[in-house]
Subunit: 322 residues, 2 copies
């Protein structure tokens, strides 16, 4: 009998949820609006309802469900199964027990982690497990999150907030980060900062095809930067290189700290495609020591929009096996 799992990917705008089997195949998926203004209890009730509807719709045997996993914005308290406080959610979510509430509604053991760790586990489960045991993943979006797997397990750290890879300091005294530090990886390689660096250069009078484009279309986005870099614009190319260089530097340090076999780039920014991965790899090779070769596989995430569903189901599969 196939064992089935619910995978839930909770974001500020929408909740993606799906039914996943023990080998990571998505049998059904659905997306519902988060409507976070209605509060966490309403949200969990609607998630559970959507899960049950999906079972019925696809004529699956509810008795073969073994568990559920849910990924959420952080920081999270893993022991309590709560979001501590997330800047993009109403205060009613603070310390609300997402995990236990969902577990009760679905009447299934439920596992909980932050969204970046969940995405990392999804990529690892379907593309790494059995081949490698050590991996890092960057989620390159509005912010920059991450996941770290050592010896086949996600690294959670002493308060469950490990793998905040966006806040590694790659350039001491560098760009100011909203976190209060300077020179964070996030200030070079997140979508927000890729766009900001380009706009700041244009504000400073830097010549680029992006200048005319901005006059017509408004502030440059990270997608614009990648598009213009592809067409050979010098400024755009420099900004992409700056983002890739910061990631390359971070990966050299990460290699020496936890020695991952693979570094995975995920999140919206990777729509830029192989251009980004290739440039990160170039900088990694350039900065890496020469005393003995330490090649590292640097690649793009492969699960696409199902990553959150698959990863969430995956942490449940993994936790319930133990």
């Amino acid at each position: 009998v196939t064992e089935l799992y619910f995978g839930v990917d909770f974001g500020g705008t929408s909740v993606k949820l799906g039914i996943v089997n023990g080998t990571g195949e998505v049998l059904a998926r659905e997306s519902i609006p988060s409507r976070i203004e209605l509060g966490p209890e309403d949200l969990i009730a609607r998630i559970a309802e959507a899960c049950e509807k999906l079972v019925v719709k696809h004529r699956l045997d509810r008795g073969t469900f073994r568990g559920a996993g849910i990924g959420s914005p952080g920081p999270v308290d893993l022991d309590a199964g709560t979001i501590v406080t997330a800047c993009n959610l109403p205060v009613s979510f603070d310390n609300f027990s997402i995990r236990d509430s969902l577990s009760k509604q679905l009447n299934l053991p439920t596992v909980f982690d932050n969204d970046a760790n969940v995405a990392c586990w999804g990529e690892y489960w379907l593309d790494g497990m059995g081949v490698i045991s050590d991996m890092v993943l960057f989620t390159l979006g509005t912010g920059l999150g991450g996941g770290v797997i050592c010896g086949g397990e996600l690294v959670h750290g002493c308060t469950g907030n490990a793998a905040e890879l966006g806040h590694m300091i790659v350039r001491p005294g560098g760009r100011v980060c909203t976190c209060g530090q300077r020179g964070c990886l996030e200030t070079y390689s997140s979508a927000t900062h890729i766009a900001a660096i380009a706009n700041e250069a244009l504000d400073g009078g830097r010549k680029s095809a992006l200048a005319d484009y901005r006059t017509q279309h408004g502030p440059v986005t990270s997608k614009d930067v990648f598009d213009f870099a592809m067409r050979g614009d010098a400024l755009a190319g420099e900004v992409v290189d700056g983002a890739a260089e910061a990631l390359g530097l971070a990966l050299v340090s990460l290699r020496h700290i936890v020695e991952p076999a693979r570094g995975v780039l995920a999140g919206g920014v990777i729509q830029a495609g192989e251009m980004l991965a290739q440039r990160v790899k170039k900088f990694y090779d350039q900065y890496m020591w020469t005393q003995h070769p330490e090649p590292m596989e640097i690649c793009l995430a492969r699960l696409g929009t199902d990553a959150g569903i698959i990863g969430a189901a995956g942490i449940a599969v993994h936790a319930l096996k133990k």
Copy 2:
């Protein structure tokens, strides 16, 4: 019945070995010259002989010995139980199976790791286990090594060479490291570079009480730098601050990556004492994000010269429990 373990700390000059019980007490210790020029087989035979003599001398029951652990300079191949190639050892040691050879001579299960990991495990075992699960340790000596513990286990990485913390890049484009990188932590915080930075400043004509001292005593050592910093010399103070700042920066990044509860400073440089730990802590607090408090315990190693023996026995105790 007390279960006993041999702990062996193999260094280029001497081998420290001891008999340790299951709670980390050293019941007997001995030091023998390494005489590495005689080759690895001779070395292992002399280690085993010294171990057996120690049992007899202290009238211990050889039947209560459960295992042995040995720490060695790296890089090591943990699966094979060999030193891959160590720059300070004759080539006869390359790929010699230290672990299996010692295991055969002692007729005991034997566990092997690099010396920094062993030191890290020793500190964790006697001072952290049961209290914390996540820790990093720096060995500040001629070079700069490290150990990383996540979730109560040493992190080894994909080829067993994780926790090379001296080669985290803390200042891109910074000081040249023998490894081929620039801006490595080792180039600011190892004994070698603390001395070198002071000597370079003096060569450049920098005024300091160290200048006269050097004229009389020859090149400044890291100990001299700490001594003069204690007495208020400005240059010496700056060099110590530079070493502490690099460690503080590294600890901020490490906190975001693996989230240790504790950062431990070990190795010869910590003879400088609390002055060093306090300065590292000051820089950690200064560079750490302000979005929510993440205080970290930063302290000096406590096991002193027994660290290698205790840690080596400790990895055996831990591995054999599993």
